[in-house]
Symmetry: C3
Subunit: 534 residues, 3 copies
């Protein structure tokens, strides 16, 4: 690989038409992050030796005394596959961390060559959607621009959305798919990011491949810009007539005529010309997302339907339905700029994150299983939520994974909610803010910190957020299922992801502002941009 990159960089590194480099393509695609080869095994052993220094430290960290699995040298350690029963979860987690580090290092090697031979050019990688097997924050730290490949309809079809959502948004994608990744990768690029592959029509790789509603290419492009993308390019320019991706649309059809997307892209260009220069500012709300948390739960789910990725996506979606700008941040990031911080879950709360949580004046909401593990995937000596007990004095004495056919009801401020998943059982002197019918509390708070001990249904979560937003003095506008808004500089973008026109909603939302572009009918796939009246 280094030879190839060096050859390219030597040949084109100083070419004046080369303004940026993309390293490789979609790291991890086709299940390539985690390798179970002999080389991977040797690499993993070295990685462990470097991390732990002494085998007894590893034994302690993994708790290998359990089931008599003590190692006496790093050479005895295999990859955590092909075991008779389940492998040690700390072993698995370290393997996931090691595999992620390999991707980081693989990218860094390319970056180093390019920096040397092609100085002054931006280095970009194109990340994927709903793919989390390596730490995108770490890879992003070595890039200039974190780009990603946005395929809202394919992602809707292939990832965990309900049948109802898959039906309603078949030709649009779920309203938060693109935005979630825009906000995630904006953080990965430390503010510099882009969409490098924007879907311009039907693709070829989902189980089923829809034709986007007329207007969706325009909507997706504007939305990326609203979230701060430096640029949006489309994959692909022309649709090939042959080979694997011949059914993947381009801006040109296979007969080289413009495809329906072509005109939409051109329209975006002219509409953007009507806008003043807009700056992306910090949001009031931060959502903490952790790749390490995701791997920990993958290694140690304790319930087949527990999904950290889903949990974060649903919390993000619920906040966004309240009309908010959201920043996705990494554990340890400074939080002083925010008024509300939500942590859907964070099993290991490291000291730096703990410090940031204490320093901020924001209202902070922790979700279930937060603080439930140490860095090595052990239960904390003082039980869950571990260090968070300093902020919310409760102790989780046992936890329960609920299957989708079983759920719990809860009452909160006089209202009843159903559909709870996961329950942490609590020992505390605090009064419960929400309670099950059997009396157990599932929501507690002290000062500006809250701990939710369950995965709430949509309604319950929405009402919790509403209360916290009042407390944090953040203005919000409930938008319903289909509409989303994003403010950039003085401009508010409104996107209608639903299949029906919503003229009244438009009227209510937009009064007292100037419309830069967009139709008052607020039809399906419509985008309206408003500027503050001066």
């Amino acid at each position: 690989m280094q030879g190839i990159v060096r050859a390219f960089a030597e040949r084109y590194g100083q070419n004046k038409y080369v303004t940026a480099w993309q390293t490789d393509n979609e790291y991890g695609c086709h299940d390539t992050t985690r390798s179970y080869s002999q080389d991977a095994k040797l690499g993993f052993r070295n990685w462990l030796a470097e991390k732990y220094g002494n085998i007894s430290v590893l034994n302690e960290a993994w708790g290998t005394v359990f089931w008599s699995q003590l190692y006496s040298s790093f050479e005895q350690i295999d990859l955590p596959n092909l075991t008779v029963t389940e492998p040690n979860p700390s072993h698995v987690l370290d393997f996931y961390r090691y595999s992620s580090d390999q991707v980081v290092s693989y990218n860094k090697q390319q970056v180093d060559i390019l920096r040397e031979l092609s100085p002054g050019r931006d280095i970009i990688h194109n990340f994927m959607g709903f793919y989390h097997e390596f730490d995108h924050f770490k890879v992003g730290a070595d890039l200039d621009i974190a780009a990603w490949d946005s395929y809202p309809t394919g992602f809707l079809e292939m990832f965990s959305f309900s049948d109802e959502e898959k039906k309603r948004y078949y030709r649009q994608g779920h309203p938060d798919i693109a935005a979630f990744h825009h906000d995630l990768y904006r953080r990965c690029g430390n503010g510099r990011w882009a969409v490098i592959e924007q879907q311009p029509g039907p693709v070829n790789w989902a189980h089923h491949n829809s034709v986007p509603l007329p207007g969706m290419i325009r909507l997706w492009t504007h939305e990326a810009i609203a979230h701060g993308a430096e640029f949006v390019t489309y994959f692909r320019w022309d649709q090939a007539r042959y080979a694997q991706e011949q059914m993947h649309a381009g801006l040109l059809r296979p007969d080289n005529e413009p495809s329906p997307a072509f005109e939409e892209a051109r329209q975006v260009v002219s509409e953007c010309a009507n806008l003043p220069d807009l700056k992306t500012e910090n949001a009031d709300v931060a959502l903490v997302f952790s790749y390490d948390a995701l791997w920990l739960f993958e290694a140690h789910p304790q319930g087949a339907s527990w999904s950290y990725s889903d949990l974060c996506f649903r919390w993000y979606s619920q906040l966004r339905q309240l009309g908010l700008n959201i920043d996705i941040v990494a554990p340890g990031d400074d939080l002083t700029a925010y008024k509300l911080v939500v942590v859907p879950s964070l099993p290991h709360v490291d000291p730096k994150t703990m410090e940031a949580l204490k320093r901020t004046d924001a209202v902070v909401l922790f979700g279930p299983r937060t603080g439930s593990k140490t860095a090595n995937l052990q239960i904390p000596e003082n039980l869950a939520p571990g260090p968070i007990q300093e902020l919310v004095p409760v102790k989780i004495i046992q936890s329960e994974s609920l299957s989708p056919i079983v759920n719990e009801a809860v009452s909160f401020k006089g209202k009843e909610y159903e559909g709870l998943q996961w329950l942490d059982y609590v020992e505390t002197d605090l009064p419960a803010l929400a309670q099950r019918k059997t009396g157990e509390g599932v929501y507690f708070g002290e000062g500006r910190y809250r701990l939710l001990c369950t995965v709430p249904d949509k309604r319950f979560l929405g009402d919790i957020f509403a209360e916290l937003l009042f407390e944090a003095e953040i203005e919000f506008h409930p938008l319903g299922n289909d509409v989303r808004s994003r403010i950039k500089g003085g401009c508010t973008y409104h996107m209608n992801y639903g299949p029906e026109a919503l003229p009244e909603q438009f009227g209510t939302l937009l009064k007292e502002k100037d419309v830069a572009f967009g139709s008052e009918n607020f039809g399906p796939a419509e985008v309206v941009a408003q500027l503050k009246k001066v």
Copy 2:
């Protein structure tokens, strides 16, 4: 294999009791057509070298320039399995064609030995149901008689029927399972065909194995004769008490007493004695079926629920519910004898087929994705429907696979229909004959040619067929879900596949004709044969 066949043929080839040979058994059974062995790889390379002559021709045909997969010699080509991501679809399709050719050749080697050593005997092979991995037309061309193994209840349970159908026809099989294969294999045998394994009771290999309703063995046997079978034999004569197939019924029970099927078979013999000599004639309606099309779509589905096999079966079934005799024909067959030709789909329309379509005076209906590919599985330069644009001047600019939870509605001649699957989006000056609510046309026609750009639901398809039959001046009789008819010579057979008696339907259907056999009550599993009054 050749040694075995030669030894048999030398020993029994001139034996006066040997009147026919069956080559091998159920080619392809247990997944044996496509091999991924080293031998298969070498054979495939030779086959490719012979087909393309020069590696650059192959590169062009497959479009290997895509993803930098250009080959510089045939020795570099592997089988299209174990790839990191999906293989080139043209590569896959050629592998399927190669695999089919191996079966053709394997059969031909046996036939050659038998023709040499046992002249004057019929050579037969027993094909399977719903199995399509080799070209049965080509194997059939080397046989005297194309036989098949008819297991309607097992096929119902194992193939893609709805739960409602599986329940209603549990002890009968779906009414078109046997007939579809009768008509397909009649073409494979160029008119000479037979049922060599007729199910005589419960079998042992389906997920669940029903006991056929009393009368079904008689019904299935008569129906085969009605479709022109030279003979019907049963598998098996006696039910073994041991080994793998001990639960597979025979005409004799394991205690050597007659099984319930025995008396039904005897009844058929006596009933046939009451009939005059009947000849099978050409039908008015032809359905074009292509093995190559099936493999192409298997290699390149673009939608997980797209099934060419299902599509052909459902079109056949809908025509047969209108009381029609149907001929299944191969691409390129002469079509001048027909009044209506239906092409459920035919992605590559070769020049010989194009010529036949132009020469016939029949009304012709093309289904979705017809003409969408070249012989090498590329998009035609003039887009889909490729050469069919000469007959129906439309251009497909994009296509959409719908998942079963999403479907479309359409209006046609003032009626509304739901349940459409797959949509080809059209650019044309022709008026649409049927339209989606959003205005896009899905059905077009010019002269006697029609193009349907969607997979219609049952009702919509039935109404399209009805209109075309009027236009083609073909008389038809809607029979409903359960009843089927078949005319052979001057005799009309009526079969009741439903679980209930239909005495009124019998009355209506049969007036003014002589009943050769069958009960007026038209009970479940009843067959009635009528002769034209002289």
Copy 3:
């Protein structure tokens, strides 16, 4: 393994604090009974050579003449995996028997060492729930105490219970899970048995892991005692903070404080102190359970939804809902002590079992497929039910597996029932006791013997049992879905497995007796123990 056991036994065999040994752990766990290794193949060949002596005897037993699979030496025999199509079922069955014998022998080797080096100590093994790949009766014969590991909530989640049951009993387990195994392993230990791992809270290995309702640890413990357990111990004492089972509850929490189960276990100890010495007596009802039958059906199901294990469990459950004590017995066991014997199915009825069935005065009910096979898995020469024809003179001429979407209705004593699965079609002069709408009988009897030719639904089975209990003069008390009772000595235990209190049921059930412990409210997870008034 022998070296390890010998080393332990030499070191601790005479230690006065060692009162018992547990051999290995959960034989068969993680799919370890059946091995497809080279060693297994060689062992299997030796086992076959010993069993059959001569290869021609094996050929006859397996019916290898079928499909030309005759062997000429034992060295030609492979394991019954990796075959192109399905292997010979007699071959598979013998492989299952061989694999079971390996477990028996593996345990026996340990037992022999312990008996030699640690005389006077009880030898115990801990069996699992719903695991049947080796013959627990045979392993049990070499033990002093047959113990088992009782995890009712995990078993509910992982085995074949309906969604309704999984929801209703999510935090309790189905009411018969523990009891079925208590009664099965009591027979395996010839009366001496125990629960060695009682679940004390949520576990970590099910798809989802519930927190047992308050009271369930007490209920499960009392129930084991009621069924005759010598002791109940909990897995585990303290919950580990690390490694694979860190989410598996203990009597102590990970912070070494008592878990909720701790107090419940202590309560049981004090409640037991209130009871007199109680003896386990023979029940009036025996249910015949056969590991060999289970393997035979596994090798030869003839219907994907046929489950011998389920069938036995459902018959057991239905009897237990009538308030009965039940003994589970092995084929060949003496049956003279019983008033009612039920045989859910027994494909091969060996001479010893036949003799026991004839010697008993009990009313005997046989289920479907009884007597349908010989010891070698062939159809009997006189057809099913084979030797049982001597007791119930019927002949099964064909059998039908019904898929869950298809079922049959039946009338029995003027009532209609739906939901039948599996049908044996009968030739007999006996009148039918229950009939399908089409007239075929599905239930026959002569003298005190009955044969049921179908898998009945719950209601039909309950009414059959009720009639047989009247005939056998056994008193019974229908308890409904949630409540179970067990009599031990003069004490009746009542367990409420439902999620609701049942105060009326308690009142009705318990009049005229002394309550030893338990609440009159009969709330969820409540146990009430009553002593006969003296």
